[in-house]
């Protein structure tokens, strides 16, 4: 017999996380995208929509809401020549995996004794890869079921691109997992909290003056892994400079050419959700997740007194730390998008298969070598 | 008889702008130039009128070979033509005839300067009111001023003011400031229609075209003066300010006002006719047309035009679709056979419509078929006393010896109760001697007409047809000439071309589905009617072909031919 709280608590977590955090973040990252692109291009961007029927603009923060209303109210047009079932299925198949992956991301330490992760799986990264690779079906289906040439080409491009970059994505992560010796993302974050972030090993046992020689040498392969991983996330989420599937100049809008209204919005949201989860994953793996830098966590825990129980305010601090890091990455994503031109398709494939794949493979051996040399076998 | 045989001696060699051509002796220089494709600008000259030579626009440089002194041989050039001595002064090309060895230069400096000078004088007093002038767009003053004019005026004095907006006749308005005094209208009135009411009063720069205060230009051919006026001095009240000429699409067609069949040009824009004027055909109407014929098109603008097929149910007519109306009409008519059914066709129908009427009559086995005779007053010019445009066609196609004579039988048949059904095509029966009581005794009456007339009110099925400018077809005029009618505009609403309606009835009655195009109807007719043998619809051409000899002639054309013989006009 399962207790009610065992059902209720995860349910609350899911609802709060998805509907209060991820979806608003998705919406507002669209707004951020437009604002940031505007300021990069010496423009204003959406700055008008504020509180309805007033002149209060709030710098355009109401824009996502009106966008949402617009998407809901627009005519949901299904062209006559499409394969209806898959045409309807495709947007859901893009959106759902993107949101599913956030189940294993630890977005905070603890709050009122509850771990701030929906499912504390001990195969976190594997789960994410497994689910994330499902979203390619959405795109392939969208491209195929649209029964029109541009979406079809977009779908093909997208699937081959995602398959290619999943390899370097996975391989680049192997060194990280080697370093932590752990597949539970919460444990990885706690480890980083105590002994220094992977890319900032400056306290705890990770610091070189505390004998963390291994972490010092491992910094370089980690950096390489970080670069490969981040770049691959760009490709995986179809963002510029790798947005070949929806390349306007060649493919009109790629796989979602035939979509309109909310179905189109689902693709759009799926892309941004994937971007948020990607950022969350990068932050979790390389930049200490919810943890504060320089061992502040431990110090604050000491201040709180009880070493077993994380106080609620610290829990909130951790959550916000995580969100700040993620937002920073989202802005980085946006910044890159409005800076770099699109790759040519062959360049994209070449980068994936000839550069990143080999580098990531090499990186595994280097990391393994360093670990073998610097860590004494227990 | 000896003269009629044209030998090469009747031709003379003329050099026009450096090229030698051969033209008949007695040709006007202006016509010789026209044959050499050198258009000489002119205002007063008109081939159908005498040449007073008063506009001076057609000045050209002329030269003749020198007369050799006795015993001396003429100096010849490489082509064997005598050398031309050019005259120092220009001559008018409209009133002079060519001579052997004559040279004409239309593009020399002298000729160009002369034209430029004449243009400048003509424009001195001409008002700058092209924006409101109806002639704009087809005004030779505009055209020549662009082609031959100076581009700017050197005239600083104030222009002479003359009467504007003068009422000189019921259909014509005169603007004397625009007049270039070419006198075409004066000559037309005098020479062609013998109504010499126009003249020039006041000498010098105040020279003004006028009618005597007691007289008006009101003969039935007055609007021809508007056509031949090279500028906007004479404008038609009917067309005045209605539409600019450059918007109009011109359709070659026929006037159906009488049996003359004058060739016309119909000017229309966006489904509305704005004017109808004569088209030159020297076998029918020369270049003229009567005023009443021009106004024929107003009949198409009748507010009572039928736009939908209707079936009478009880006392009211209900609008139905075409299929239903045609089926109903065919069903109603086929219930009666032989003497029970009569068809009253119209002399205003085209040959094709008449032919389809004939086939319909054959398959319905109609007892009596006849057309309505309609005569009025004709005149000694163009207007014919037979006011139906195609009685000759009806004669030949419906095999009627004397059209209209069988209407008596129909009257009698209805009175006896023998005739129970009537198919009426394009006629208003109450207008031609039938009474309401008479028609009330009929079981069924199908009407094809374009106007909701009293007969339509009594008909069981009403099928809306098209007016003469809304359909294609052919007609035979009083002198036996087969001519083509063309479609200028669409008929209003759902109304259809009459031949389509008749064909629909034919199909519904006999179940055959063969002919689909008007030309096919004509094609079928060529084998069924002997006078059309060997013809095709396209072969009729714009000017028509003579298919029968009616022994009639056109008085106006005969007088014109005499004037040509007398050398008064070119023709």
């Amino acid at each position: 017999m399962i207790e009610l709280s065992e059902l209720l608590v995860p349910a609350i977590k899911i609802v709060v996380l998805v509907f209060a955090v991820i979806l608003p973040m998705v919406a507002y990252s669209v707004w951020a995208e437009r604002r940031v692109s505007a300021i990069i291009q010496d423009r204003v961007g959406p700055n008008r929509v504020g509180i309805p029927f007033t002149k209060i603009g709030l710098a355009g923060l109401g824009q996502p809401i009106s966008d949402g209303i617009k998407f809901l109210l627009k005519e949901d047009f299904t062209p006559g020549h499409v394969n209806k079932l898959y045409f309807w299925l495709a947007p859901a198949l893009t959106m759902v995996p993107a949101i599913l992956t956030c189940a294993v991301l630890p977005f905070g330490s603890e709050l009122f004794g509850e771990k701030m992760v929906v499912a504390d799986l001990n195969v976190g990264p594997l789960f994410i890869f497994a689910i994330a690779s499902l979203s390619v079906y959405g795109i392939v289906l969208a491209g195929w079921s649209s029964n029109s040439k541009y979406p079809f080409l977009g779908g093909i491009r997208s699937s081959s691109q995602m398959i290619s970059y999943e390899i370097s994505l996975g391989l680049s992560l192997v060194p990280v997992l080697l370093i932590f010796g752990e597949l539970n993302l919460s444990a990885i974050v706690e480890e980083q909290s105590e002994n220094g972030w992977l890319l900032l090993p400056l306290w705890g046992e990770g610091a070189i003056w505390n004998g963390g020689w291994d972490r010092f040498f491992l910094f370089f392969p980690s950096l390489l892994a970080f670069i490969i991983f981040t770049t691959s996330i760009f490709a995986e989420t179809n963002r510029l400079p790798f947005d070949l599937p929806e390349c306007e100049t060649e493919l009109v809008a790629g796989y979602h050419t035939e979509y309109s209204s909310m179905k189109f919005a689902l693709f759009f949201l799926g892309e941004y959700a994937a971007m948020i989860i990607g950022s969350g994953l990068i932050v979790t793996l390389f930049l200490g997740g919810w943890s504060l830098p320089f061992g502040c966590d431990a110090a604050l825990m000491q201040m709180a007194g009880n070493p077993e129980q994380v106080p609620w305010w610290l829990g909130l601090i951790h959550i916000s730390t995580f969100l700040v890091k993620v937002v920073g990455f989202i802005i980085f994503f946006i910044w890159v998008r409005w800076t770099l031109p699109r790759f040519r398709y062959d360049q994209l494939m070449k980068l994936g298969w000839i550069v990143f794949f080999e580098l990531a493979l090499l990186n595994i051996f280097i990391t393994a070598g360093i670990i073998f040399l610097t860590r004494s076998p227990d | 008889m000896a003269v009629s045989k044209k030998s090469s001696e009747d031709l003379v060699n003329v050099q026009v702008d450096g090229h030698w051509i051969r033209v008949p002796k007695g040709t006007r220089m202006i016509e010789a130039c026209k044959q050499a494709a050198a258009e000489v600008p002119h205002y007063c000259y008109h081939p159908k009128l005498t040449s007073p030579g008063n506009c001076r626009m057609c000045l050209v440089e002329m030269g003749m070979p020198p007369r050799p002194t006795p015993g001396e041989e003429a100096e010849l050039d490489a082509e064997g033509h005598a050398k031309i001595n050019w005259m120092p002064r220009p001559v008018i090309a409209c009133a002079n005839t060519v001579a052997e060895g004559m040279g004409i230069r239309t593009q020399s400096l002298l000729a160009k300067e002369c034209r430029q000078g004449v243009m400048e004088f003509l424009l001195i007093n001409h008002p700058l009111d092209c924006p409101i002038c109806d002639q704009a767009g087809e005004c030779t003053l505009q055209e020549y001023s662009v082609e031959h004019g100076n581009g700017q005026s050197r005239f600083l004095e104030s222009k002479v003011k003359k009467p504007k907006n003068v009422d000189i006749g019921p259909r014509i308005r005169l603007d004397d400031e625009r007049c270039v005094l070419c006198s075409r209208c004066v000559r037309f009135s005098k020479e062609v229609v013998d109504d010499d009411v126009l003249g020039f009063v006041d000498r010098g720069s105040h020279n003004t075209l006028a009618v005597h205060p007691d007289r008006k230009l009101e003969n039935n051919y007055s609007l021809n003066t508007v056509d031949i006026c090279p500028v906007g001095a004479l404008t038609s009240n009917d067309f005045r300010f209605k539409m600019r000429v450059w918007f109009m699409r011109e359709t070659k067609s026929l006037c159906t006002g009488c049996a003359r069949g004058c060739n016309t040009l119909i000017g229309s824009r966006e489904g509305k006719i704005y004017r109808q004027g004569p088209r030159e055909n020297n076998k029918v109407n020369s270049a003229w047309m009567c005023d009443s014929g021009r106004m024929e098109y107003h009949r198409l603008e009748d507010p009572a035009r039928l736009t939908d097929p209707m079936i009478k149910r009880g006392r009211t007519h209900n609008v139905v679709d075409w299929t239903e109306a045609i089926c109903r009409a065919a069903k109603d008519l086929s219930r009666f056979k032989g003497d029970e059914l009569a068809i009253i066709a119209s002399g205003g129908m085209t040959n094709e419509e008449l032919y389809l009427t004939r086939t319909l009559a054959e398959s319905l086995e109609a007892g009596v078929v006849d057309v309505v005779k309609r005569s009025g007053s004709g005149d000694d010019y163009l207007s014919h006393s037979d006011k139906n445009p195609n009685v000759n066609g009806a004669r030949k196609i419906l095999k009627l010896r004397s059209p209209g004579s069988r209407l008596k039988l129909i009257h009698a048949g209805i009175a006896e109760g023998k005739i129970k059904a009537l198919l009426v095509l394009g006629e208003d029966l109450l207008d031609i001697g039938f009474s309401e009581e008479e028609l009330g005794g009929l079981k069924c009456m199908v009407l094809v007409h374009m106007i909701a007339n009293p007969t339509a009110k009594m008909s069981t099925v009403v099928l809306p047809g098209a007016g003469y400018a809304e359909k294609r077809g052919s007609m035979i005029n009083a002198t036996g000439r087969l001519q083509r009618l063309n479609k200028a505009i669409d008929s209003p609403g759902l109304s259809r071309e009459d031949w389509e309606i008749l064909q629909g009835l034919n199909r519904a009655v006999d179940g055959k589905d063969e002919v689909t195009e008007l030309v096919d109807v004509f094609g079928e007719m060529t084998s069924a009617v002997s006078i059309f043998k060997g013809l095709s619809f396209a072969g009729i051409g714009d000017l028509g072909v003579d298919v029968m000899d009616t022994g009639e002639s056109v008085p106006l054309l005969e007088r014109e031919a005499k004037r040509v013989r007398d050398g008064l006009i070119v023709g």
Partner: protein
């Protein structure tokens, strides 16, 4: 308008000078007869002439308006024509005209192209400008009735008019 018997007769006489099919050639002689009889040619006269010659009245009107010698309005007892062609104009005919008008009490302000004659208020004199009277050496010249007067300088005007008192 009453046409006197004599006029009718002399008109027929004039018409008889021309072949019957070219009757209209008698238009000018007829108009002269009319003007001699009445002093001017009014609309009725034009219609009468047109009827006589079997032409449209406009054709006669054309003639009347073409020749400055024909008048459509009644002149004064004495009709003065002052030459205004170049030589006389240079010799001062306009001044002469002004002077004559002043003395005879004629108001020329209403004169126009269509109505060139001005009549004095007492109806005694009427005046108009005429083109060359063929005595260029002795300008300004004028014609009173059928009398020809040369060198009519403004100062001679009074003497000239006095002859016709």
């Amino acid at each position: 308008m009453e046409i006197p018997k004599e006029l009718e007769k002399s008109a027929d006489d004039a018409i008889g000078h021309y072949p019957p099919e070219e009757k209209r050639s008698a238009a000018l002689p007829l108009l002269h007869l009319v003007q001699q009889e009445f002093g001017f040619i009014n609309d009725d006269a034009i219609s009468w002439v047109a009827d006589k010659l079997a032409v449209e009245p406009i054709k006669i009107l054309e003639l009347v308006t073409f020749y400055p010698g024909f008048r459509q309005k009644a002149p004064g007892e004495y009709h003065i024509r002052v030459c205004r062609t170049l030589s006389c104009a240079m010799a001062g005919c306009h001044k002469t005209m002004e002077k004559i008008c002043e003395i005879a009490g004629i108001d020329r302000s209403k004169v126009s192209h269509h109505d060139p004659i001005a009549v004095s208020s007492d109806g005694k004199f009427s005046i108009e400008f005429a083109e060359c009277l063929a005595s260029c050496g002795t300008g300004p010249v004028c014609l009173v009735g059928d009398d020809f007067h040369e060198e009519v300088k403004p100062e001679n005007a009074k003497a000239l008019l006095q002859q016709y008192k």
